[in-house]
Amino acid sequence: MTLDLATITLREAMTGLDNRDFSVFELTRETLLRIRATEPDLHAYVEVFEEDALKTALFHDRSREAHKARRPLTGLPIGIKDIFDIAGKRTMCGSKIREDVEVAHYDAETVHRLRRDGAIFTGKTVTQEFAAGVVSPPCRNPWDLDRIPGGSSGGSAASVAIGTSLGAMGSDTGGSIRIPASLTGTVGLKPTYGRLPMKGIYPLSPALDTPGPIARSVADALLLYLVIANRREDVANVDAMLEPFGAKGLEGVRLGVLTSFFTDNLQPDVHASFLAAVATLKSLGAEVIECDWAEAQAARSVAALINRVESAAVHHDHIRGDEADLIDPDTRLRFEVGALVPGDLYLRARVAREAVRDSIARVYARHQLDAIVAPTLAATAPRADNLMVDLPDGPEGVGPALTRLTMPWNATGQPVISVPCGFDRDELPIGLSIVGRPDDELGISRIAHQYEGATAWFQTHARADTV
């Protein structure tokens, strides 16, 4: 197997290592060289761990020579969003407030699990300040350097898209895994809220925060999810877990398409790609059922209110002290406004969260759905110098425009996987979301894998020569 970081997936690299087509050191060195070549324009990383990564690579190669058993991620280059603690490294959260912060003493629990299973950390990836936003400056989109990668896990998604990591960790409070995955043509998996440990991850809104992987294929994303979920008995069985439903791929699978809200006010190319994706799913044997979720807008509002109030509480001291002037003005405004929301409104949002969860559960029960499919976003990547999104109803600010379709699933806490489903007229990626019942990460991955195998979107990659 040729080591081509423009196209190789995590699991292909694993096969290449197993077959001795290349060593861990070679894979690591090539990844670091690619980082050096692309970072001046891409800015996906806050800090690159060249020396640590090469040392760890040599250790893994010597272990292999000693015929020690390979661990699930041995030697595979993984990026870590800079809100996750890595022992001995600073967690700066993209904020000037934390530029002089002491190094972390321990790995975040999810980072520990990746390290334990053999991952090599390439570095800390760029996040929007305190994971609060969708732009991720100064990182740019590898498909078009004049555009944003999305956020807040923008550096993770950009590095995966360009091949300066083969998988990366993100976190999702209002869409921060799925938004950059959709805008960079990568796969983003937001697991079920509340199931994965947040220990060692800087919080934004504890009632919503969810860590998860960004990867180049559904199988890669599932593998990383199984590792961070501590499902060690399953990591060797990813292929079996992704087997087709029947001969056509999705026979007997019932997929809901929501007829309003999620198909309203989409960019025309996004809408067309979504309809084409639904047609592909049908061709694979899935039964597609049109259904309505009247509470979708309320679900978005629930997530928005909880997010704002809790993030204001997390940053209580930051917005009231001398440090306030160090916060990006837009981020500061978010936190200040959250601090003004009355407590009874927050409590109403918490109660309403149960109501919207109940309402979506009824949609699944009424139509006996295995999953819901929807566009991940209403738009493709906006320009970095004009953070307005052109939509049929008129231009909208990048924040509300990009979180409109992602936040409802943070309110319900359901698992969602976003996969590439096409390109717009400017050759910018478009994402499709597959939304599962709680705890059904495997089910949505299995559906997404069949879709992936039936399309060519996953074989189209951002090219380093455009960077």
Binding site: R348, E354, S359, A365, P438
Partner: protein
């Protein structure tokens, strides 16, 4: 006593100044309009959730459970 406005009612610039003082926040004059606009946008979210609170307001504050409630087709006759 006059009726108390609902917590989701749009606020004015003057009311915002009072709220900022209560919250212990200092916002310069040039930033105040943006804060006011964003705050009223959040209050609009509050009005959106009113539609799902009918009957739910008295249901207490259950601990979060990520699993769906058990619902059968028979339960869902409505």
């Amino acid at each position: 006593m006059p009726d108390r406005p609902p917590p989701t009612a749009t606020v004015t610039a003057e009311e915002l100044r009072v709220l900022l003082g209560i919250a212990g926040l200092t916002v310069s004059e040039d930033r105040a309009p943006a804060v006011l606009a964003e705050f009223n946008a959040q209050l609009a979210h509050g009005r959106q959730i009113d539609s799902v609170l009918d009957g739910a307001r008295e249901s207490g504050f259950p601990p979060y459970d990520p699993t769906f409630p058990k619902i059968t087709l028979e339960d869902d006759a409505t």
